[in-house]
């Protein structure tokens, strides 16, 4: 099976974020990492390849720094990478991102496209589903298991509140992958070494521009959310905090 994995570079989970001057985005000088569900999507693609053979290709869009997620993907075992490299991609809405990906892979023949179920920065949870619509392929979201069968694949969808559902679907298809579908591997030293020699195709903004349109939604402003609840901060040495907490548990929460 030939599998494309869409990956995104996002700010690290505990990175302190600062607003930029326009107030519409964050300052770029933070530490980045692979969007967590995308890491699971990559792992699942590698496992499928190990079982059925084929090829795993990783793709991302963003400035030069975003190449790091592709390097990590290659080091873990992906065969090659595609980098849509331009600062402008950072400000794309989900539709334009999907359009750019669709344009970049128009000459390829994938059986499956994986994305993480959502990104930790925008959190749209839309790019994968939109990509399926643009490609004219079926899709399924929040996937926890993938088995090949005669007609295509059987996937396990996670529903809310502990429910699940198996879905049979033909290939090619787009799947959005849930965190926890598998156990992540670490890149080996050999893998990291080999990654340096694996092909990485760069795609410019100009190449995909004819397929793009205006962003259909616009972030007018970004800000620190207003607190809706009155929070009391407890400070001091650990022992004192423990005493204060017990006082709150007894007299305010009334659970002791």
């Amino acid at each position: 099976m030939k599998i494309l994995v869409c990956m995104k570079q996002v700010p690290q989970k505990d990175a302190p974020l600062k607003l930029n001057e326009s107030g519409q985005w964050i300052r770029e000088d933070v530490s980045y990492e692979v969007n967590e569900p995308d890491a699971y999507a990559l792992e699942e693609a590698l496992r499928q390849k190990e079982k059925h053979g084929g090829e795993v290709v990783v793709i991302t869009s963003g400035p030069a720094r975003a190449q790091q997620v592709l390097r990590e993907g290659l080091a873990k075992g992906a065969d090659r990478a595609i980098h849509l490299e331009d600062n402008a991609f950072v400000g794309f809405d989900a539709l334009n991102t999907a359009r750019a990906f669709a344009a970049a892979i128009k000459d390829e023949k994938f059986d499956l496209v994986f994305t993480g179920l959502q990104s930790d920065d925008y959190g749209y949870a839309q790019t994968g589903v939109i990509l399926a619509e643009l490609l004219g392929w079926p899709h399924a979201t929040i996937i926890m298991q993938i088995e090949k069968n005669d007609g295509g694949i059987r996937v396990k969808r996670e529903l809310e509140a502990g429910y699940f559902q198996f879905v049979d679907m033909p290939l090619p298809a787009v799947l959005t992958i849930q965190s926890g579908i598998n156990k992540l591997r670490y890149a080996t030293l050999i893998g990291i070494k080999q990654a340096k020699n694996k092909p990485l195709r760069k795609v410019t903004l100009a190449e995909v521009q004819p397929s793009l349109g205006d962003n259909l939604q616009k972030v007018e402003r970004l800000y620190i959310p207003q607190k809706t609840k009155k929070t009391e901060t407890l400070e001091g040495p650990a022992g004192e905090i423990a005493k204060k907490l017990v006082d709150k548990l007894r007299n305010e929460a009334r659970v002791i």
């Binding site: 959190g123 749209y124 939109i130 929040i142 502990g162 259909l216 616009k218």
Partner: protein, 331 residues
């Protein structure tokens, strides 16, 4: 024709999803602000009874959008059926709850119509003639006001708990119900869904717990779970966790709180090393008292905490266990 707000409510497994009332309340509030007419739609096969239930609320009309192909749910059928319906009715704005089902089809539907959906919103603002929808970004650390940069119909999904379902107003008379049969051609539906099931029976019902001690990534290692368990035991509560902990297998899946796990509202929710991603918050924000311990002072969990302790949980928890034991012993 006046501008309309179309609320698409959710039914599944023969039940109206309760979050639908929140979206109705959102539609009614937006109607007051804009002067647009609120309408509702139920999508499926044989959904007249749901339409009648929704018609008791103050909406101008309820549509039962029907096709045998809409049962069981598939994204192909829902996108095709709703596309047809929305093209014929041309609502100004379409509101839906941000459920797993809606997430599965709404981006496809909006794209098929050449439009966009602003997803997982927690509210809206009207500034002059402009409507802005507020959504959380960066796992809730920041919020954004987002506007549409395209013609109607606009699609918006609202996060669970963004509006209060009990504030959906009843109408003076039942709203008229109209059945709209949509045509979905053979071959449109490509997925074959099987029965919905629950993985092994839930061993623990956390919804009944009065005290929950919950752990997140900040617990660092599996062996440290023991510390949290000791605190839960001292308090007479249950141990629970955020998703990454259960994904790692450090606690079983039935201990998971959040959108993919259980939704709880105990008397006390004590969050240890939980940053408070949106998916976790929606599962516990109804708790009566929330205590959060986290080393990151910007962790979103502090936004909803009653008591915040910014610090190292490994320093705070041991003395806390001792103090709780002392207090319980009548000290």
């Amino acid at each position: 024709m006046p501008d309309t707000i179309l609320v698409v409510v959710e039914q599944r497994e023969g039940k109206l999803n309760r979050v639908s009332w929140e979206t109705i309340a959102a539609g009614q509030a937006l109607a007051k602000e804009t002067g647009w007419t609120p309408e509702a739609a139920v999508v499926g096969s044989g959904v007249a009874n749901f339409a009648n239930e929704v018609a008791a609320k103050r909406v101008a009309k309820v549509y039962a959008v029907e096709s045998p192909k809409l049962e069981p749910y598939t994204p192909d059928a829902f996108a095709a059926g709703l596309k047809q319906f929305i093209e014929s009715k041309q609502p100004k704005i379409v509101l839906m709850p941000h459920t797993y089902q809606v997430r599965d089809f709404v981006p496809k539907l909006a794209t098929a119509l050449g439009r966009t959906a602003i997803s997982d919103c927690i509210g809206y603002k009207k500034e002059g003639a402009k409507l802005l929808f507020t959504r959380q970004m960066f796992q809730g650390k920041l919020a954004a006001d987002v506007s549409f940069n395209c013609d109607a119909p606009w699609f918006v999904t609202f996060q669970n708990g963004a509006f209060r379902g009990d504030q959906a107003e009843a109408g003076t008379n039942a709203a008229p119900v109209e059945t709209v049969n949509v045509q979905i051609a053979d071959g449109v539906v490509r997925n074959k869904p099987q029965e919905v099931f629950k993985e092994a029976k839930q061993a623990v019902d956390l919804t009944q717990a009065e005290i929950i001690v919950s752990v997140g990534r900040g617990i660092k290692e599996q062996k440290n779970i023991e510390l949290a368990k000791q605190l839960a035991e001292a308090l007479g509560g249950e141990i629970a966790a955020s998703r990454p902990i259960c994904d790692s297998g450090w606690l079983p899946m039935d201990r998971q709180i959040g959108s993919s796990g259980q939704t709880v509202a105990p008397k006390l929710y004590l969050a240890l090393g939980i940053s408070g991603a949106i998916q976790h918050i929606v599962g516990m924000k109804g708790s009566r008292t929330i205590i959060a311990v986290n080393k990151d002072s910007e962790a979103p969990i502090f936004e909803i905490a009653d008591y915040a302790v910014v610090g190292n949980l490994f320093e705070i928890v041991p003395p806390l266990i001792e103090e709780v034991k002392k207090a319980k012993a009548g000290g």
